[in-house]
């Protein structure tokens, strides 16, 4: 599935260990290397250590905005500026949480490269990731 030679490493951060394990399993089956963390705090530690090629972060973890905060922290680092970071959430316009990554301003404010809705359709996600890695 992958177009580049090196195996890409993805950081998954989610406080729901079931979802974390599922997504890890699915992505590994598609040939990615997956590292995981269960909180914003742990997420940043793993990020610093592993320097992944991409990060997918759950929004609501220990706090309602843990995902945003981790996103900001990652994007402040040199490595973080180079990689795509996605926010993963079931909180969307439909559920009354009014934010999106539609406009450039919004993306800059959130500091993420896109918002993925839960539950993730893995095939869609993978093609999205491959698009990123192709560019």
């Amino acid at each position: 599935m992958q177009h580049s030679d090196k195996i890409k490493t993805i950081l998954l951060v989610d406080d729901d260990i079931d979802l974390l394990e599922q997504n890890k399993l699915l992505m590994e089956s598609k040939g990615f290397n997956v590292v995981t963390a269960e909180s914003g705090k742990e997420g940043f530690e793993v990020f610093t250590k592993v320097k992944p090629d991409l990060a997918i972060i759950d929004l609501i973890m220990e706090e309602y905005d843990s995902g945003f905060i981790l996103c900001h922290r990652i994007k402040k680092t040199e490595h973080g500026k180079r990689i795509p970071v996605f926010i993963l959430t079931s909180a969307t316009y439909n559920t009354g949480f009014k934010f999106s990554s539609e406009t450039k301003e919004e993306r800059e404010w959130i500091k993420c490269d896109g918002i993925l809705n839960k539950p993730v359709v893995v095939d869609e996600l993978i093609s999205k990731l491959n698009n990123y890695f192709d560019e």
Binding site: L25, I60, G96, K118
Partner: protein, 505 residues
Amino acid sequence: MEELKENKAKELIKESTPKVLIVDDEKGLRLGTQRLLEMEGYYVETAENGTEGIEKGTNNDFDLAVIDLKMPDIDGLQVLAEIKNARPNTVCLIATAYASYDTAIESTRLGAYGYIPKPFTPDELLYNLQKAYTQRVLMLESEQLKKEREANLLELANERSRLSTIINLIGDGVLVINKQGEVVYRNNAVFKNLNIVEAKNNIELLSKLPDKIIDLIDNYLGSDELIKKSYSTQIEIIHNELFVEAVTSPVPNPDGTLAGVAVVIRNITELKKIELIKNQFVSMVAHELKTPVAAVLGFLKIIIDKNLNISDQQRDDFVSRSILRLRSLLDLVNDLLDISRMELKTKQREIVTLDIKEIIKSTVELLEIEAQKRSISFNIVMENYVPVIKADQNEITRLFTNILSNAVKYNKEEGSINIITGSNENYLIVKVIDTGIGLKDDDKEKLFQEFYRVKNEHTRGISGTGLGLTIVKQIVDSYHGKIEVESQYGKGTTFTIYLPINNNN
């Protein structure tokens, strides 16, 4: 025709006995006139000079007065003037043998109704008095009408001011626009509800109305036919702080054409705030429901996906984890239903006298197995006398189940839970002291919020709906009790529950 009128007047005089004052210094004329008039149905009084004439004529309300012009003491014109001044509705006739143009003008100016030249015949006198009396009746009628009109006007003015007071007192803004699009009425609430600080006049007020209201008004004014419907719109006047609902209705003329538009502007900020809280709650609920469903769905998809080729052990693990998630989902739904029922007060309560000791003992028994797994011990200290309370058994059991199961769940291995019951004058007091992970100040504040769950390295793997303490708080509040939390992070937490004692028993 003339005769008919005269007959009518005669009848009228007989029916109503008009009061006549004769002022004349000639005794013979006075008496003769008196006799004649009394025969015709008049009531007659006489005055033999001007002074007496003024006295009688001003003190009594005579219908008619016949005043001699020349009298030895006071001139007849002065008598006329005094009587007219005090009794404007007394119809006065001047009797004189010296009629002159000047006195005629002067007496008319002073309010005399007419002139009777002396000497007069009885018929001449009667004819003049009849005419004068008809005038008197007309004057009285007109005065009556005037009084009634004034009373009506006063009543109308009072009614208007009453209405205006009422409309100014109500909290809803009331605004009336005429067909020309001009403000013809507005109460003070219009300014308040639309946050218009100042408008020097109604034209300026019009320019400060929100576009949405203007659009609705134009709708009516611009239509050829009378629009009979009312329209409403909601407007956010100050972001997140002031919301109003404006309702426009047509004001029709009696002939069915449009006279103007009435606008009622109601402050709906409180409703909007409640709506917002409700929406946030619904969003949170949706999120909390979606998460376990997503987890179970994920597991099932993985299990069914042949390409993934998971091991039997993995499959069994995923199935049992799915079951756990579904169980907790069910707990969540039940908690939500309880909260909703309690908020709607539709829950059937059975208020009985409760023995709190029994409830605590049985709750502890249920939790004992779970506690023993982690070597947590219960220690119950009860005063000999524990007052009874009146409450619903299920609710109080639920209250202590939630508190005590938290004390177990968030406790440390080999920890303990002390339950102390006591009372003061008004309350039954239960303290639940655990040796658990404790709370940070931040967490303490949010503890009773819906779906709030403390998340840190110690709470990993502890399951819950995030509604347990919300329910506890609701139950305590519904009995007018209170609950206090003391905690030291890392050391333990103490919940103190106060339930009002039923003093009647």
